[in-house]
Symmetry: C2
Subunit: 409 residues, 2 copies
């Protein structure tokens, strides 16, 4: 009995999530085991509200190529945390749509949804398979060597820091630049922003990640010390840096709003440090928030990242064909020279609600061997350029599934 | 008698200013009329302090290609406003270095330096030629059709807005995004950020430029009205928008600092409007400041822009060979289909301290014929991709003239 499949996207956007979706659509459309490929608008929330569309019109290679180069989330997203009360309703929707496999593309929180649904379906014998496909620019999912979306964001951060550095040192006056980078709990992205320094460059002289307690007094002293010999001091600072008590730095100036998963909403540690430097040191200082650009800059996507994102989506379909459920697909790095990976899988309980921090053995960022390891880890993920599909105006075009955009021209 | 030449860079950085410098170095090195090509570090300030270096080591095609793809200002910059007291000192330096022509690459303020020096040298018969080469991402220099640097920034803004739009509409909740764009007095860059809308796209629904008085009450009402039918409202707002009294919007929340040219330092109108929307409308709202990225993103440079920047530098040397002085080079657009330009020159008094606003006949941004004209104007300037020179790590490299950067690897 051929069944249908359903894809949902969840959590924050990235440059690669649509590529993973394209991989699932491509492989599922080609498979003899499945009928219609459906998509849920706005993730699991859209399943519950039955906002489900047929993705067949998007299964041609032409459309898939366009989808791969489109950033953010073509089906929209949600941040809904499931409760047991939702399970039977979801089961009913899956039954009505004759869904055999549900693919959920997301991060730590989304894998909790995969875990809950898989357990429920196993317990009540409904036979629906649930498969997680990882994505997060934060790169903080356990088991997998890295996460689709991270490589493109890392590439954006390296390039942008490289350019900000040049922009920052044009005047012969003392100045400090604080660049704030995403990463609520983990410093992977901030390491990418610091890569130029780890590779032997002068800047950014200071790299601060959440895993290492942030000593504000020590930071200001370090800036002051550096300014004695250098005109420009550049700091790459994670939005999630915390002091020795575990409190977010500059907490008092932040909104304090909490999202639906209980995470404190962060913004403005860059601005906070800018004001501290202006007050305590008194030199020219600028803060730069790389904001959503670091997660949606498709024009600077890593081809390696997008290729892997497609592969992991395709491999998820193969795993489904083999009967897997309650798993998340992972990337295993098998070699660095030359860089090579294979796609594998792990029980989703190894991932759901868990996080992978920058390892403690990397915390001494001044150690040359640590710097070399960071470089070995990051560089392959950032390689390869995309040749964007452009319209007759020469500008890149994205795929519109939800009809929210009117089309240019 | 062969003379030497001197190049100085001034004002804010751009992606194309080094390309113009490369054009001057290339043409002057090839010319039989000139000896050594010198560069002044930090513009006219470096002339006064005799921070002058021989640029011969950078005249090979290999180095020039690297210089062309390097953003910001390879010789550093200054924001010094000359006074009559500086003229004799500068003349003395030029005499000591046997300078026949001084090329000054910069914007409105820098052209004032060109004007002052040219008048002084003419009056006292020193025979030094002074030639202005235009650059400013703001595109607000008179006479020239557009300014080198603007096309690359416009391209960055179009691409980034295109991506921010996708990032902004993933959740099924009402939300507003305010994107703040550079342009102290002119809205050219903000028009580029609005281009997707002018070309028939939904977003950004609101485009606010300094040339059109900003009615804050009307703006909030417009946002409220749009939210009745749309989930996402995106606004492209110039940093320099002013109310009907001519006061900068959100003035009270800004620093009020004034730069050496008397311009009020601007930042934060995006943040100001974010807070207003949060307070008065109460929906989810985010502000994004595109900050220095919009002026230094070499990875997204327009090839057309960089090619023209090189040409205008080369043409400045030809003009010098022909004996010109007290001029600024300009770009004349001779055709749109196909796009074609020729490099010409204008008396620098037509440019110095003057600004070119977005014309009044373009102020009705809802008029389709205006939108078409904006599109015709902008699109050709943004065309063409650069193939960056990369090192063995696959990452792009920039040219370092001042020895401030240590080299990676």
């Amino acid at each position: 009995m051929k069944k249908n499949i359903l894809i949902g996207l969840s959590g924050g956007p990235s440059t690669a999530i649509n590529a993973s979706m394209a991989g699932v659509i491509r492989a599922a459309s080609a498979s003899s085991r499945f009928n219609t490929v459906y998509g849920a608008l706005h993730g699991i929330a859209g399943v519950l509200s039955r906002d489900i569309i047929d993705l067949s019109p998007y299964s041609s290679e032409e459309k898939l190529r366009l989808l791969i180069q489109t950033p953010a989330m073509a089906l929209g997203s949600c941040r809904k945390k499931l409760t047991a009360a939702d399970w039977p309703a979801i089961e009913q929707v899956f039954q009505d749509y004759d869904i055999g496999v549900f693919f959920y593309i997301g991060g730590n929180d989304s894998m909790d949804t995969v875990l809950q649904l898989d357990r429920y379906f196993k317990e009540n014998g409904s036979g629906v398979q649930v498969i997680g496909v990882p994505k997060t620019i934060d790169n903080d999912l356990p088991v997998t060597d890295h996460t689709p979306g991270f490589g493109s964001s890392a590439k954006y951060l390296y390039h942008t820091m490289h350019e900000i550095i040049r922009d920052s040192e044009i005047y012969p006056i003392k100045n400090v630049v604080v660049v704030e980078i995403m990463g609520r709990n983990s410093g992977w992205l901030t390491l990418a922003a610091g890569l130029e320094h780890f590779m032997g460059g002068v800047y950014p002289q200071i790299v601060a990640i959440p895993e290492i307690p942030f000593d504000e007094f020590g930071f200001l002293n370090q800036v002051k010390e550096l300014l004695k010999t250098e005109h420009t001091v550049i700091c790459a600072v994670s939005e999630g840096i915390r002091n020795h008590n575990g409190d977010y730095v500059g907490m008092e100036t932040k909104s304090g709003a909490v999202d639906t998963f209980g995470h404190t909403y962060l913004s403005g540690v860059g601005k906070y440090l800018e004001l501290q430097i202006a007050e305590k040191i008194g030199c020219k200082v600028r803060s730069i928030e790389l904001n959503v650009m670091q997660r949606c800059s498709a024009h600077l996507a890593s081809k390696t990242d997008l290729d892997e994102a497609v592969q992991i989506g395709e491999a998820a379909v193969s795993a489904a064909e083999a009967g897997a459920t309650g798993i998340m697909m992972v990337i295993e790095r098998t070699s660095n020279h030359p860089y090579a990976v294979r796609i594998a899988q792990t029980d989703v309980s190894n991932v759901a609600n868990l996080a992978k921090d920058v390892p403690e053995c990397w915390h001494d960022l001044s150690d040359q061997s640590v710097r070399d390891e960071i470089k070995q880890y990051l560089l392959p993920l950032m390689q390869g350029e995309l040749e964007p599909i452009r319209d007759k105006t020469g500008l890149p075009v994205f795929l519109d599934i939800r009809g929210i955009h009117s089309t240019r021209e």
